[in-house]
């Protein structure tokens, strides 16, 4: 076996083994111990319900996904814009960064309760605003870091060329910040899906995945609910994969930097 | 009885596959008790590999290794040797004293005994005032002294050193060489010392083993006899320069058949 194919086998085989074993054990435990459906549904039933309801799941995923996407794009855009302001006015940077870091610790999605009051009850806007807020801070902190934490040697070099601040921005700071932007997007993508999701637990329009899960459980249709959970996981995964691919395209040679605070 | 007896040792990595590397072939070496022996040679000549074989960190492909009259494995289990690397390898979360106590803890010594031995070792390397400092508070030379104290904590009869002074500046390096010699002379320890530096090898050793790569083998063993005690004056001694020349020529002999890399001449 060539070393390349053997290394592929080595990295794919163990997770495949664990995955299959996990599902098999799940199935056997549920069937064998005859577990009540409201506790745990067997994988076979989940898959069955999932494929039966695929249209409904897709519809709900579109609603939640749209909220996440809009928030992601808007939050990223606003975050990037604000980060330029922060890099220009260091005082603002020192003011806002501790706030953003503190917000990491707080479950800010509870603000949806407040946002729901500020808008009509059928509006999806509160959720979109929530996602925008969450993504905004992630992107803001990371891109600001990328714009400000440049190698002093590079800045000294540009100054020796009598470069203006704008030129330094364009030629040093922005290229430096690109990997940070993509790190932020890779974190924001799943965060946007999660936030869109959690926002649905606060009431308001009932068309998204989160609401469907709660209503199905309320009606004791757990296997169906698991199907929506599967849909939610696929949605989150899709967002992450797309953001990873974008990163791969935009930063050839893998210049992605893992920043310390991350979120 | 010799401290280390190496007979027909060979070591090949990735044996049998297309990227097999013959790190060592047919090494024969006998090191007497109390002797200071240096291993020197260009990159890839197998000197670090040989050291690790003696330490029983890797197994030979063929041949026989006797350390302290036992198999290398038994010598390791009995903690018959102490080891020091280029990176001091101190644990940053332990104080200097606790770093020295590490091998003693692993052997199950009780607290009082450990502390007594650690204090003794600190005095030996002249770092008694720094017992409760942390490694990152010390300079590179001081960290290496702690590493040597740790290596000697179990009072081994054999000391294995892999370029321990490689990361230090020239002045600190010369100072450390003198320190090491006085410590080893006092304790009668056998030393096997891997280095890239010809002056260092000649200054420290009784014999210098010159090795060459592809495949790794011993080219020549240079006897460096300098009369009298070795100290700073030795560095101006003509016997010292003679020794350096002999070693350099032995290495050049290597150069005839192979491109020499990574040797310091100064």
């Amino acid at each position: 076996m060539s070393s390349r194919s053997s290394s592929i086998v080595r990295s794919v085989l163990p997770p495949a083994v664990f995955g299959v074993a996990f599902i098999a054990v799940w199935e056997l435990v549920v069937k064998g111990f005859n577990l009540k459906p409201y506790f745990l549904a067997p994988p076979s039933k989940i898959w069955q319900k999932f494929t039966e309801n695929i249209d409904l799941v897709w519809g709900a995923a579109k609603v939640s996904g749209t909220n996440a996407l809009i928030g992601l794009l808007l939050g990223a855009f606003l975050g990037m814009a604000m980060s330029f302001v922060l890099s220009r006015f260091r005082f603002l940077n020192n003011l806002i960064t501790p706030l953003a870091i503190a917000l990491n610790a707080i479950p800010i999605f509870v603000l949806v309760a407040v946002l729901n009051n500020m808008f009509a009850i059928t509006s999806e806007v509160p959720r979109r605003i929530m996602v925008t807020l969450v993504v905004y801070f992630i992107v803001l902190v990371n891109v600001a870091k990328g714009l400000t934490q440049v190698s002093p040697t590079h800045v000294e070099l540009m100054k020796s060329y009598a470069a203006s601040d704008t030129q330094i921005l364009r030629k040093v700071r922005i290229p430096n910040a690109v990997p940070y932007l993509f790190t932020a997007l890779k974190i924001s993508a799943p965060a946007s899906v999660i936030t869109a999701f959690v926002s649905e637990y606060f009431g308001g329009s009932q068309n998204g995945l989160g609401s469907r899960i709660t209503s199905n459980i309320a009606n004791s249709k757990n296997a169906v609910a698991w199907g929506y959970v599967l849909g939610a996981c696929l949605l989150g995964l899709t967002f992450y994969v797309i953001s990873s691919l974008l990163e791969g395209v935009a930063t050839p040679g893998g210049r992605a930097k893992r920043t310390k605070e991350g979120r | 009885m010799s401290a280390v007896e190496i007979t027909n040792i060979s070591k090949a990595f990735n044996l049998g596959s297309s990227n097999q590397v013959d790190a060592l072939t047919d090494i024969n070496l006998s090191i007497a008790s109390g002797e200071f022996v240096s291993l020197i040679g260009p990159s890839g000549c197998g000197k670090s590999t040989l050291l690790r074989l003696i330490a029983n960190l890797i197994e030979p492909t063929s041949g026989e290794l006797v350390v302290n009259g036992k198999s290398a494995k038994q010598a390791r289990l009995d903690q018959d040797y102490g080891m020091a690397f280029q990176q001091s390898g101190l644990f940053e979360w332990r104080t200097v004293e606790k770093n020295i106590e590490l091998p003693l803890e692993l052997k199950g010594w009780d607290k009082a005994k450990r502390q007594a031995r650690a204090t003794e070792m600190l005095e030996l390397v002249k770092l008694s005032d720094f017992a409760n400092h942390y490694p990152w508070q010390l300079s590179g030379g001081m960290q290496q002294r702690v590493a040597i104290a740790r290596a000697l904590a179990v009072h081994p009869s054999l000391l294995l050193m892999d370029e321990p002074f490689g990361a230090l500046d020239e002045m600190t390096r010369e100072h450390m060489q003198s320190e090491l010699l006085s410590i080893c002379r006092a304790s009668g320890t056998t030393v096997v010392f891997v280095t890239h530096s010809i002056p260092e090898a000649v200054y420290l050793s009784n014999r210098v083993v010159v090795m060459s790569p592809r495949p790794g083998r011993v080219t020549e063993i240079v006897d460096v006899s300098i009369e009298g005690e070795r100290n700073d004056a030795t560095r101006d001694n003509s016997a010292f320069f003679k020794g350096i020349t002999s070693v350099r020529e032995a290495l050049r002999g290597v150069e005839m058949s192979d491109h020499v890399r990574g040797i310091e001449d100064r």
């Binding site: 163990p14 997770p15 664990f18 009540k36 409201y38 506790f39 020192n94 003011l95 806002i96 501790p98 990491n104 610790a105 707080i106 479950p107 999605f109 509870v110 603000l111 309760a113 407040v114 946002l115 009051n117 500020m118 808008f119 799943p190 999660i194 999701f197 959690v198 637990y201 606060f202 009431g203 995945l209 899960i213 609910a225 959970v229 939610a232 996981c233 989150g236 995964l237 992450y240 920043t259 310390k260 979120r263 | 960190l57 390791r76 080891m83 690397f85 390898g89 644990f91 979360w93 590490l102 803890e105 692993l106 990152w136 508070q137 010390l138 300079s139 030379g141 002045m171 600190t172 100072h175």
Partner: protein, 301 residues
């Protein structure tokens, strides 16, 4: 030739104080921006490019900051004696304890799994991909399911208490970042140190206790921060899904329902949730400072 570095402890504390002061200032900044919008923004909400985007700025939808703060001192319910601040505090404390339990259990299990993965390479290769994947999918989707076990599930006469679902969810979310971070740390020991332990003929467990685990601490610490906020999220979401009595989540939902009549009320609970998150994060930071007390201080971002 002896150079000894100082521990720079005083400048470290000065930096921390500065951060806290700036945080407070930034809060004032946000309050000012809020009030500014109230002055400038449209009373009945507005449109940007035809989309109903601007929130209403009247006192019902956006109470004055001062009103929100004053609300803490007034009774919770009409005719009741209990002031809101004591209710919110009790709720936040309730949720804090649940989050703490969840955090502790999740972190312990995560650590345990990481040790298993460090010991058996096959386990690492098989399980790690799923752990990494778990960070990208909304695990929170399982919340309603876990929460539904409350009151219904019974094993040998003992019924699953509702609050346990909140703790379990918190533990579940905290587990993953700790498992990933701890594994990274356990495998971070330099090879020279591993060789050193080999030369001492140390067993795997001795090497774990004396080398791998201490070397892992700088990696475990940031993952504990993630775990702390994850457990808070888990607990709050579980409380919202169940309306778990006594928790801050339920208070938020309840007060949100009364928002038309009493707009400032819901903010009191929201701030309570924020305090919960900060308390949890503060607790982990203290633990972090203790664990890293003897390490060299790196310049943080």
């Amino acid at each position: 030739m002896t150079t000894v570095m100082t521990t720079k402890k005083t400048s470290e504390t000065a930096r921390r104080i500065r951060r806290v002061v700036l945080f407070v200032v930034s809060l004032l900044f946000v309050a000012a921006a809020w009030e500014l919008y109230k002055v400038v923004g449209p009373e009945a909400g507005g449109k940007i490019f035809g989309w109903k985007l601007l929130p209403r700025s009247n006192n019902n939808a956006m109470p004055h900051v001062w009103d929100m703060l004053m609300r803490y001192n007034r009774p919770e319910l009409r005719g009741s004696d209990r002031k809101i601040w004591s209710v919110v505090l009790a709720g936040a404390w309730f949720s804090f304890r649940l989050a703490l339990v969840g955090f502790a259990i999740g972190s312990a299990l995560g650590l345990g799994l990481s040790i298993l993965m460090a010991r058996f390479k096959f386990a690492e290769r098989g399980i790690l991909p799923y752990l990494v994947l778990s960070q990208t999918v909304p695990l929170i989707a399982l919340a309603p399911l876990v929460v539904s076990w409350g009151g219904k599930l019974s094993i040998a006469g003992w019924t699953w208490p509702r609050w346990m679902s909140a703790a379990v969810l918190g533990a579940f979310l905290a587990f993953f970042p700790v498992a990933v971070g701890a594994l990274k740390g356990l495998t971070s020991a330099p090879s020279a140190s591993l060789e050193l332990m080999d030369s001492y003929a140390a067993s795997w467990w001795q090497t774990l206790r004396k080398l791998r685990f201490p070397a892992a601490i700088p990696f475990i610490v940031p993952s504990l921060k993630l775990a702390a906020s994850a457990s808070v999220i888990g607990v709050v979401v579980a409380e919202i899904s169940t309306g778990l009595k006594g928790g801050i989540g339920r208070l938020i939902i309840e007060y949100a329902r009364e928002a038309t009549g009493d707009p400032a009320k819901v903010f009191t609970a929201v701030f309570g949730a924020a305090a919960l998150g900060l308390a949890m994060s503060g607790f982990v930071t203290l633990a972090d400072m203790y664990m890293m007390r003897n390490r060299p201080k790196e310049a943080s971002a």
